[in-house]
Symmetry: none
Subunit: 409 residues, 2 copies
């Protein structure tokens, strides 16, 4: 914990205030000539957001990780939850596992896996085994699971994903990541050996040995399963021992998300997953129902990011308008502090995540007003929050909830 | 290297993109009543910059080092090149030497030197020896050089500067700065003894001893050279072992500068000096010619700073307009990512460098547009880049050049 974290922790008091963070995934965008120098937020009709802005909001833009760094969903959300994403690295194996909706325990080591094709000499001839069908992948994972559930005292859990993809989780004492990939990264080479990244790390050495043992047990089982007679492991990482949201902020937190990845990320910091919702309207209805039971709500909306990833400007505009149309359901039970933002930008022109600071809107009795008419990137540029690192958003929300004592006299 | 630097390094990929940084030295200024609350950038007619802004630019302001710190040219440029100027200190002796156009090697120790006048008791009666003429200085340096080229195994290099100024470079194994000045800082005192700043540092101790030996050899040679019968050393420092620009960013870099200081600073980080240009038009023409040979271009324009140092508002406006008039030569071969900024502000009202954040303009396919009409300090205040530390500019340029993989999944 940094010295600043320590100061925040010391100043923190419980107030019973309700805080809500609404994440429109990949919300931020850039103005381009092709769209008349408009961003989707600017082009969208958002009467309900506009009305909220008129009630007094502070705006700004947030650097998701550090200048120029494009985050994946993991670092993007960790920052929104107030965890420095440079300090708290969540490995790809862990993210992939969370994305399949699988719960991990602290200390679990998870790996992304691909089925692959090996030739007679053991050289990789297709790193994706011809992208076998998902049901084939499921069958092969069942074959492995049936025979390999333990290696020594370590539990081995195998979960199928889409097509050739699956994940392997090692659960036991004294395990640590990362270890190097067994994926040689190109065809014509043998499966690589997993090695500890830090040769002196006992937990990593143990995991490297487990992976070697796993191959010895698993490869014979796949021998006749052409084209998927081998597999490659990547992003082998352990679930970091992150302090829970409640311990860190004294807030009982609920996650109302639809996609497994975001449920998983919220669970990583100990939020309670609220299940059984599909649409943003249902998410908001559920928020209203659960209002009394939690102090902090994380509500995740995926469709802005999807449209951005596809480069579909009109679809992103529509996703924002759909969100806006449902917003009154949420606002019927306004929390004491509300933040609306993205976990990063997903500009249509980029067709992917980007480093551009995402706009953020903060509304509370004490947010003041930047006297803007709408919530947009260009407006947020001149907002009172300025351009700041996303990891500080929770601190601003806490401050607006009067959760901090004065520092010094 | 910081953990963040490490993350940047891991994410970095080569793309073949072309990046260019144009530095209008001391560009930033402040609006004062005397000039109708206009800055030189605001007062200047800049049709070509205006047209560039209309093509989509992100703007912001950069803190050269840290809030309130006024940088010299060294720290100002190191930050622009992405080297934390607090971490990488380049001593005055090194800067002065580079400013004379002299190449230094890593580990060289350089000192600024003044000829001075000593009385019969060895007390300093004039710290600048009556500001002797430059040709006298050259003659005296030749006298010293002729007799003293080595001290033990250490090479001694003496280079004349303007008037009473010269530099001394010690080149050999195991040398380190800093050591304390021999300049007593006022008249009436004897030449001070150079002492290691860290008494336990063997390299500094060796340099302190070398300086003592140098005085023993040199003072007798100047005995009859009134008024310049002594000399004082200041800013004794070694050239730090800075990782080269190419190693750090994977970019082959060229410097198109006119003044020796800026050539020297670029060389400090391993850029190739492009010689034989005098005017900004020639610099731009040369950039176009060299376009294929480098990945990154640093183009330095001095006259904005000169005018600011002299407190001449109209001259600074003229310098900006001259730059703008030449800009189309550059834009005929637009790089993938272009940044235009200063290394610091040199406000006319200050008649010197200042801490005021300098405006910066970033233009690329992915810079987006802040929908501003011009590039000015006031406009930059509301730009999407916000106010940020100059050392991050290269990171934003790299991001705009798609030089970073995504961080995390």
């Amino acid at each position: 914990m940094s010295k600043l974290d320590d100061v925040y922790a010391k100043l923190q008091v419980r107030t019973g205030a309700k805080l809500a963070l609404i994440v429109l995934d990949g919300l931020g965008d850039i103005a381009t000539r092709g769209q008349g120098w408009m961003t989707p937020l600017e082009a969208a009709r958002t009467p309900n957001l506009d009305a909220l802005v008129a009630q007094g909001c502070a705006q700004g833009r947030m650097i998701p990780v550090a200048p120029g760094i494009t985050p994946g969903s993991g670092p993007g959300h960790l920052a929104l939850f107030g965890y420095d994403p440079i300090q708290w690295e969540v490995g790809r194996g862990v993210i992939e596992t969370l994305g399949l909706g699988i719960e991990l325990k602290n200390g679990d080591v998870a790996a992304r896996a691909n089925f692959c094709t090996l030739d007679g000499k053991g050289l990789v001839t297709d790193r994706r085994a011809g992208r076998i069908a998902t049901d084939v992948c499921e069958r092969l994972c069942n074959i492995l699971s049936a025979k390999i559930s333990k290696l020594g005292t370590t539990q081995v859990l195998i979960y199928p994903g889409k097509e050739h993809r699956f994940v392997v989780v090692f659960r036991g004492a004294g395990l640590e990541g990362p270890v190097t990939d067994t994926d040689p990264n190109r065809e014509g080479l043998p499966i690589a050996e997993a090695k500890p990244v830090d040769p002196a790390n006992a937990g990593q050495k143990k995991v490297a040995k487990l992976i070697s043992d796993f191959y010895k047990a698993a490869l014979p089982l796949l021998k006749n399963q052409q084209p998927a007679n081998g597999f490659l492991l990547r992003g082998v990482a352990h679930q970091p021992d992150i302090p829970t949201f409640e311990r860190r902020y004294g807030l009982k937190a609920a996650a109302i998300a639809v996609y497994p990845m975001y449920k998983g990320l919220s669970q990583l910091v100990g939020m309670t997953k609220i299940e059984g919702v599909e649409t943003i309207a249902q998410q908001f209805e559920r928020y209203v129902k659960e209002y009394e039971h939690y102090d902090y709500f994380f509500i995740h909306y995926k469709y802005t990011d999807k449209a951005g990833e596809d480069g579909k400007f009109e679809a992103k505009v529509k996703a924002i308008e759909d969100f806006d149309a449902a917003l009154p359901i949420f606002l019927a039970r306004k929390p004491d502090v509300l933040a609306i933002t993205g976990d990063h930008s997903t500009p249509c022109a980029v067709k992917g995540h980007s480093w551009h600071p995402q706009p953020v809107l903060l509304h509370s009795e004490l947010s003041g007003s930047d006297k803007l008419e709408r919530f947009t990137e260009t407006g947020a540029n001149v907002g009172s929050l300025g351009v700041f690192e996303a990891k500080y958003l929770i601190r601003l929300m806490q401050a607006n909830a009067k959760m901090f004592d004065k520092y010094g006299a």
